[in-house]
């Protein structure tokens, strides 16, 4: 069987899997960005209870393996009466895991804004909300976007793991086709190639564009 015949027969299945992979990626991306913002801010809170809670969350999710968290969400939560659909369990586990890493990036980003900026905003009698919104946040983005971009590529790679909790994504389809046809080189090779194309020609350019946008917004023509 030539590679063309293989694509002809199984290409559609793989593409359908790719669509699921992209869905998982987009959903968990939104979730992890929100979580990182919240916990990154909580980590800097002066309230010790809030700060402690954020620290425990971050250390817990960074200290255990993503696969363990994924299986825990899918196979163990039903013991406590919470049955999540595979897709939901996958997105939640990915979001919580990457949110923990993202929170540290957000925290470092906020700390990297020079203290003088806070003081100047204070001296100009900005309200705390306006200070965060107009002075601090626009300066955070150019700092946190490059590490966040790396993290997001890691997220794309990590979405492959949801196949192991029965989400029918690209990895799942590749495995399935492999077990039927035993054309391992073709199906896993194609899957690798698709992940590579998504990362290299869609995700990374999108994230670079965001970086340029954020830099331009504060008048820095970087990169």
């Amino acid at each position: 069987m030539t590679y063309f015949e293989f694509l002809n027969e199984h290409g559609v299945t793989l593409l359908l899997g790719t669509v699921t992979t992209i869905k998982v990626l987009v959903c968990s991306m939104i979730l992890y960005v929100i979580i990182s913002m919240i916990f990154g801010l909580m980590r800097l809170s002066k309230n010790l209870a809030v700060q402690g809670l954020a620290t425990v969350y971050i250390e817990f999710f960074r200290g255990t393996s993503l696969l363990v968290q994924l299986f825990w969400a899918y196979y163990v939560l039903p013991f406590f009466g919470i049955s999540l659909e595979a897709f939901t369990a996958g997105v939640v586990a990915l979001g919580l895991n990457f949110g923990a890493y993202g929170a540290e990036i957000v925290r470092a980003g906020i700390l990297a804004v020079p203290k003088g900026q806070w003081e100047a905003a204070h001296a100009l009698n900005f309200t705390p909300a306006k200070r965060i919104k107009r002075i601090i946040i626009p300066q955070i983005f150019p700092i946190i976007l490059p590490p966040a971009a790396n993290l997001t590529v890691e997220l794309l790679k990590a979405t492959a793991l949801v196949a192991l909790v029965t989400v029918v994504d690209l990895t799942f389809e590749a495995k399935q086709i492999n077990s039927i046809t035993w054309l391992s080189a073709q199906c896993f090779g194609t899957a690798l190639l698709i992940y590579y194309i998504i990362a290299r020609f869609a995700l990374v350019p999108f994230l670079r564009w965001l970086e340029v946008l954020a830099a331009r917004k504060i008048g820095k023509e970087r990169i």
């Binding site: 393996s65 363990v68 163990v76 896993f188 899957a191």
Partner: protein
């Protein structure tokens, strides 16, 4: 089926999990050792004066870094036998982890070497030191502390990725938990124990890396922050 945590079941499976933990640590250690060496080769490819080798090297690194480790494992495990190379799951896993994280480590090495100021090279040239001597006595001692945190982080990273090896049948901790869980139809205790074991190993490891970073900086006469 009984709901809630069962301590008798926990105690029953604990010895089995403890033995599997040793396998996980072994896998992480061997994988890391391979990755350290592979990283050096990728670094060499990056620094050779031949443009074409640089380019090929960069594309390979880029490809490995932007595709999932899981599928790479499947690829190595299922495809190599088609070319007549039959390796055990352990060997496949170690090779794949070594290659995957080797690309990351080569970036750590590169960053560390570039972190050494260019004037150091110029001073050595002025003093007529040989390249080998410059590397050995001037550049590497300064690059090493810069590389320590990154190298440590990837050790912890590899440790946390070892559960993936269970998908190709390497008998490590996660594999043991899945087997025990499937046999007894109880996943609560096995998977929770795996989580606890990972926490108790990786948090001290991360703390140790941070301490190492501080110690090396102090030995270098630099006090950070």
């Amino acid at each position: 089926m009984e709901m809630g945590w069962r301590w008798d079941f926990t105690l029953e499976i604990l010895p089995q999990m403890a033995i599997a933990t040793l396998n996980t640590i072994l896998a992480a250690g061997v994988g890391y050792a391979i990755a350290l060496v592979v990283g050096l080769f990728f670094l060499l490819g990056q620094r050779t004066p031949f443009k074409i080798i640089n380019w090929i090297n960069r594309e390979i690194v880029e490809f490995i870094r932007s595709t999932p480790l899981l599928i790479q494992l499947f690829f190595v495990y299922f495809v190599l036998p088609q070319f007549g190379i039959t390796l055990s799951a352990w060997v496949c896993g170690m090779i794949t982890i070594g290659l995957h994280f080797g690309t990351y480590l080569s970036e750590v090495y590169r960053g560390a070497l570039e972190g050494v100021s260019k004037t150091q090279w110029e001073a050595c040239r002025a003093l007529n030191f040989s390249t080998v001597y410059t590397y050995r006595r001037i550049v590497l001692p300064q690059a090493f502390p810069i590389a320590i945190p990154g190298m440590g982080n990837y050790l912890v990273g590899i440790f946390k990725d070892t559960p993936l090896l269970s998908t190709i049948g390497v008998a490590e901790l996660f594999h043991a938990a899945t087997a025990v869980g499937g046999y007894n139809y109880r996943y609560l205790e096995p998977y929770t124990i795996v989580g606890v074991i990972f926490l108790t190993l990786s948090i001290p490891a991360a703390m140790w890396v941070r301490k190492l970073e501080k110690d090396v900086n102090k030995a270098q006469g630099k006090i950070k922050k």
